[in-house]
C-alpha cells in the first residue's frame, strides 16, 4: 500500500514538566515566493529551542528573529482553529500540536505545505477548493415541517451517533494526505465527507438522501481507496476512514 506518510514515530512523551535545557535544531523549510522566483527551494534554519515547545514556536522563532519573510498561517496555537496544518517530517500535522521532542530533533525537521492544493507562498496554500468541496455537501441541518417552540428532542444515544465527526476543525490535514485527492482535485476528499456524515447521521436532519446522492457522484465516496492516511493525519482523532465507510454503507443500504 502506497503511503505518503512516515510510520508513526513512537516517541513516548516524558512525564512531568521539569525544566529541560535548550537544544539546537535544524528546521528545513520549503520556501516558495513567486514574487521572487518561480522555483521552490529548501532552506535550513538553525535555532535554539526548548524541546517541549511546538513546531509552531520554532517557525515563530525563525519569522520573528531570523527571517520575517517566512510565511505561514496560524491563530489559536493549540489545535482548535485549524490554521496551521502542514507536512512535518513528511506527515500532515498541526504545527501547534507537534512538540519538537516528539519528532526526533536530532535530525533536520522538514516542514512543507500540505499537498494537493496550490501553494501560494511558503507554507500557505489556496484553501478555496477545499472549502468549496465542504460547501457542496450541504453542511447544514435541514428540517421540514413546523419548528417546535422548544428544542428538538434527541436522545443521548442519537447524539452520540455522530459525535466523532462534529470534532472536525476543517484544517485539511486529512484531505491533503489523501493520494486520491492529490491525483484528482475534483474528489470531494475526506473532510467534506466527514462533514456530510455529521449531518447524515444526525437524527434531527432530513436531507440525508440528498447528501448521499451528492456523494454517489463519480467524485464522491467511491473514489476512496481506504488507505487510512486521513485517519492518521487527523489532529482531532476523528476516525475519518470509518466515517467514509459508514457513508458508503448508507449508500448501499439506504439506512442511516
Amino acid at each position: 500500500m502506497a503511503t505518503p506518510t512516515l510510520d508513526k514515530e513512537d516517541v513516548k512523551p516524558e512525564a512531568g514538566f521539569a525544566d529541560s535545557p535548550y537544544i539546537t535544531i535544524t528546521l528545513r523549510v520549503r520556501r516558495f515566493n513567486p514574487e521572487v522566483s518561480a522555483d521552490a527551494t529548501w532552506e535550513d534554519f538553525q535555532l535554539e529551542i526548548d524541546p517541549k515547545e511546538r513546531v509552531l514556536d520554532a517557525l515563530h522563532k525563525v519569522k520573528w528573529d531570523m527571517d520575517g519573510t517566512l510565511t505561514f498561517r496560524r491563530s489559536c496555537a493549540h489545535g482548535i482553529c485549524g490554521s496551521d496544518a502542514m507536512r512535518i517530517n513528511g506527515k500532515n500535522r498541526l504545527a501547534c500540536k507537534t512538540l519538537i521532542k516528539d519528532i526526533n530533533p536530532g535530525k533536520p525537521i522538514t516542514v512543507e505545505p500540505i499537498k494537493g492544493l496550490t501553494v501560494l507562498k511558503d507554507l500557505v496554500v489556496d484553501m478555496d477548493p477545499f472549502f468549496q468541496a465542504y460547501r457542496d455537501v450541504m453542511p447544514f441541518l435541514v428540517t421540514k415541517g413546523n419548528e417546535p417552540t422548544r428544542e428538538r428532542l434527541q436522545s443521548a444515544e442519537d447524539r452520540e451517533r455522530f459525535d466523532d465527526t462534529t470534532k472536525c476543525i476543517l484544517c485539511a490535514a486529512c484531505t491533503s494526505s489523501c493520494p486520491v485527492f492529490w491525483n484528482d482535485g475534483q474528489y470531494f476528499g475526506p473532510a467534506a465527507i466527514v462533514n456530510a456524515h455529521r449531518f447524515i447521521f444526525d437524527s434531527r436532519d432530513e436531507a440525508g438522501e440528498q447528501r448521499l446522492e451528492i456523494l454517489n457522484d463519480k467524485d464522491g465516496v467511491w473514489r476512496c481507496r481506504t488507505t487510512f492516511n486521513c485517519t492518521d493525519a487527523c489532529p482531532r482523532g476523528i476516525e475519518v476512514t470509518k466515517a467514509i465507510q459508514e457513508v458508503k454503507r448508507a449508500l448501499i443500504t439506504r439506512r442511516f
Binding site: S75, A77, K121
Partner: protein, 584 residues
C-alpha cells in the same frame, strides 16, 4: 485599489460576526470581511458552555441569571442590558439548537446543563446548572454551526481581508459611518467598502499580554480602528484573567472542569478556595478565583520548584466522566504537559482571557460617540464591544451568550438601518491613511524589530497591569508603553512584498496593541478603587461614591500633532438591583 458597495459590511467572522451575518444577509446585501477564514476565529476556542435559564435540569429563571450577571460584574453592569441578555438567552440557545448545534442531552432528550462560576440559584444560595454545553467544545460547535448556517444562507465572505481603517464623515454636524478600508492579504491590494451600515465584530485584544488564552490574531484591530477615528473606548481597564490557564503557556482549561467537580489545590494539597469563597468555593467568579490563586502563590503556597503555579485536580473524577465531558482539555494536558489528568493534577496559573471593555454601544448594538450620541451606521457586538453586560468582570458562559444575543441584535438593527438609509458619500482619498501606513512600513529602514517590541510590551503588561495593580506598577507600564510607542516609529520589516505579507500585518497589529495598551493603563491608573477584574492594592475596596461609573477614553490630537488620552465617565444604568458587597 478597488471600491465595493454593500448595504451592510461586517468586520470579523467569529460568533458575533456570523450571528449578525445570518440576520443581515436575509435583510440586506451583506459582506463579511475577516482577517482569517471564518472557522479559524477564536470563538472556536471557547469550551465550557453558554448560559441560559432553560431550567431543563433544575429550577431556574432569567431573573436569577440577570442578578448573577450584575453581581458578577461587581455592579458596573448596565442593568437594562443584563436583563436583555438573560431574557433573550433562552431563545438564543434554542435558535442555535434549531440551526443544528449538537448540544449534550439529558436522559429526556432536552439540552443538558451544568454548573459554572458565579451562576447561582435564588440570588446566591448555591450553584445552579445553567450552562448549556457540548462537551468542552461548545465554542467550536457554535462557530461551526454559525458557519454552516452562513453557508446555508449564502453569506458573502471576503476571507483574509484586514480592515485597517474606519471611514467616518461629518454630515450636517453629525458623525456618520461611510464604510471601511481593508487590505487584502493575498495581493496587498487596498479595498474600500462603502456601506450604509458597518458592524464591528472583530474580537478582543488579549495579545498585549504574554500569558494569555487568546489567539495570536487577537490584536484589537476593530477597537484601534474606531479609536483612531474619534470613537471612545469604554472600561478598558477591566480585563479578565481566567483562573485556569496551562502553566506558562496560558492555554485555556475550562471552568467547566470545576463545574464537573474539579478542585484547585496548593502545594500542601489544600482546597484553598474554601477560605476565600465559603459558599461557591472553586466556582466563585473568575476575578475572585484568580486573585486567590495569586495570593496563595505570593504567600509561598504555590507548587513547583519556583512555587509559581497551583494545581487543578481532576484525579477524583471518574475517567468516563472526563472522557465524556472534558475530552479536549484533558488532551491538552497530555499533549502540552505530558500529564495524565486521570492520575496527576494539572499545573495552572491565571491567563489573560477577556476584555470586558471595548467600543461603547447601546443595547441595539449602535456605537456611541460619547455618553449618549449614536454614530449612525456604526455598530459593534461581541468582545470588541462594551454594552456593558459584563461590567467589571464577566461570568463564564456569558460571552458565548453575548455574541449570540447582541450579534443577532446588531445584525438586525444594522440591516434595518441600511434599508432606510442612503450611502454616505466617501471622502476624497478615503484610502489615504491606510496607503500611507502600509507604504511607510514597507519602506521603513529603522532598526527596531516588531517581535522585540511586542515581547517587551507583553512582559510589561504581565508584570504591571495583571491581577494585582498599584499606582507604581501602572505608572511603570505607562512609561514603558510610551517608550515602546516611540521606538515603534523606528520599526522596520523584512518582507517588502505584496503577496501574503504577514510580516507587514504583524507590524500593524503591534501598533494597534500599543494604542490599546496605553488606553488600558491610563484607564487603570485613574480608577482608584478595586472592582471586579481591576484590583488596586493601594485602593483595595470598591468605591461606589466616586467610581460607580464607566470609564470613557478619547484620543485627542493637539495642534502640534501630539496624541493624548482624555478620560471621561459615563453613569451606570441601574434598574432594580442596589449595589451590595460581593461575597461568594
Amino acid at each position: 485599489m478597488k471600491i465595493h458597495k454593500y448595504d451592510t459590511v461586517i468586520v470579523g467572522a467569529g460568533g458575533a460576526g456570523m450571528r449578525a451575518a445570518i440576520e443581515a444577509t436575509k435583510r440586506s446585501r451583506t459582506a463579511v470581511l475577516t482577517k482569517l477564514y471564518p472557522t479559524r476565529s477564536h470563538t472556536g476556542a471557547a469550551q465550557g458552555g453558554m448560559a441560559a435559564a432553560l431550567a431543563n435540569v433544575e429550577e431556574d429563571n432569567w431573573e436569577w441569571h440577570t442578578f448573577d450577571t450584575i453581581k458578577g460584574g461587581d455592579y458596573l453592569v448596565d442593568q437594562d442590558a443584563a436583563e436583555i441578555l438573560a431574557k433573550e438567552a433562552i431563545d438564543a440557545v434554542l435558535d442555535l439548537e434549531k440551526m443544528g448545534l449538537p448540544f449534550n442531552r439529558t436522559p429526556d432528550g432536552t439540552i443538558d446543563q451544568r454548573r459554572f462560576g458565579g451562576h447561582t440559584r435564588n440570588h446566591g444560595e448555591a450553584a445552579v446548572r445553567r450552562s448549556c454545553y457540548a462537551a468542552d467544545r461548545t465554542g467550536h460547535m457554535i462557530l461551526q454551526t454559525l458557519y454552516q448556517n452562513c453557508v446555508k444562507e449564502g453569506v458573502e465572505f471576503f476571507n483574509e481581508f484586514y480592515v485597517l481603517d474606519q471611514i467616518i464623515v461629518e454630515v450636517d454636524g453629525v458623525k456618520k459611518s461611510a464604510g471601511v478600508v481593508a487590505y487584502e492579504l493575498a495581493t496587498g491590494e487596498i479595498h474600500i467598502f462603502q456601506a450604509k451600515s458597518v458592524i464591528y465584530a472583530s474580537g478582543g485584544t488579549g495579545k498585549f499580554f504574554k500569558v494569555t488564552s487568546n489567539a495570536h490574531t487577537l490584536t484589537g484591530d476593530g477597537q484601534a480602528a474606531c479609536y483612531r477615528r474619534g470613537i471612545p473606548l469604554e472600561d478598558m481597564e477591566f480585563f479578565q484573567f481566567h483562573p485556569t490557564g496551562i502553566w506558562r503557556m496560558g492555554i485555556l482549561l475550562t471552568e467547566g472542569a470545576r463545574g464537573e467537580g474539579g478542585i484547585l489545590r496548593n502545594k500542601d494539597g489544600e482546597r484553598f478556595m474554601e477560605k476565600y469563597a465559603p459558599v461557591m468555593k472553586d466556582l466563585a467568579s473568575r476575578d475572585v478565583v484568580s486573585r486567590s490563586i495569586y495570593t496563595e502563590i505570593r504567600e509561598g503556597r504555590g507548587c513547583g520548584p519556583e512555587g509559581d503555579h497551583v494545581y487543578l485536580d481532576l484525579t477524583h473524577l471518574p475517567p468516563e466522566q472526563l472522557d465524556a465531558k472534558l475530552p479536549d482539555i484533558t488532551e491538552f494536558a497530555r499533549t502540552y504537559l505530558g500529564i495524565e489528568p486521570y492520575t496527576d493534577p494539572i499545573p495552572i496559573q491565571p491567563t489573560a482571557h477577556y476584555a470586558m471593555g471595548g467600543i461603547p454601544t447601546n443595547v441595539e448594538g449602535e456605537v456611541l460617540a460619547d455618553n449618549t450620541t449614536v454614530v449612525p451606521g456604526l455598530y459593534a457586538a461581541g468582545e470588541v464591544a462594551c454594552v456593558s453586560v459584563h461590567g467589571a468582570n464577566r461570568l463564564g458562559t456569558n460571552s458565548l451568550l453575548d455574541i449570540n444575543v447582541f450579534g443577532k441584535r446588531a445584525g438586525i438593527a444594522a440591516a434595518e438601518y441600511a434599508a432606510k438609509s442612503d450611502f454616505v458619500e466617501l471622502p476624497e482619498n478615503a484610502q489615504e491613511l491606510v496607503v500611507s501606513q502600509v507604504e511607510r512600513l514597507r519602506d521603513a529602514t529603522g532598526t527596531e524589530r516588531v517581535a522585540e517590541l511586542r515581547k517587551e510590551l507583553q512582559e510589561t503588561m504581565d508584570a504591571n497591569v495583571m491581577v494585582f495593580r498599584t499606582e507604581q506598577t501602572i505608572k511603570t507600564a505607562v512609561e514603558k508603553i510610551a517608550e515602546l510607542r516611540e521606538r515603534y516609529l523606528n520599526v522596520s520589516i523584512q518582507d517588502k512584498g505584496k503577496r501574503f505579507n504577514t510580516d507587514l500585518l504583524e507590524a500593524i497589529e503591534l501598533g494597534n496593541l500599543l494604542d490599546l495598551a496605553e488606553v488600558m493603563a491610563q484607564s487603570a491608573l485613574a480608577r482608584k478603587e478595586s472592582r471586579g477584574g481591576h484590583y488596586r492594592e493601594d485602593f483595595p475596596n470598591r468605591d461606589d461614591v466616586n467610581f460607580m461609573r464607566h470609564t470613557m477614553a478619547y484620543r485627542e490630537v493637539g495642534d502640534d500633532g501630539t496624541e493624548t488620552i482624555r478620560l471621561d465617565y459615563k453613569p451606570v444604568v441601574q434598574t432594580r438591583y442596589q449595589p451590595m458587597e460581593r461575597k461568594y
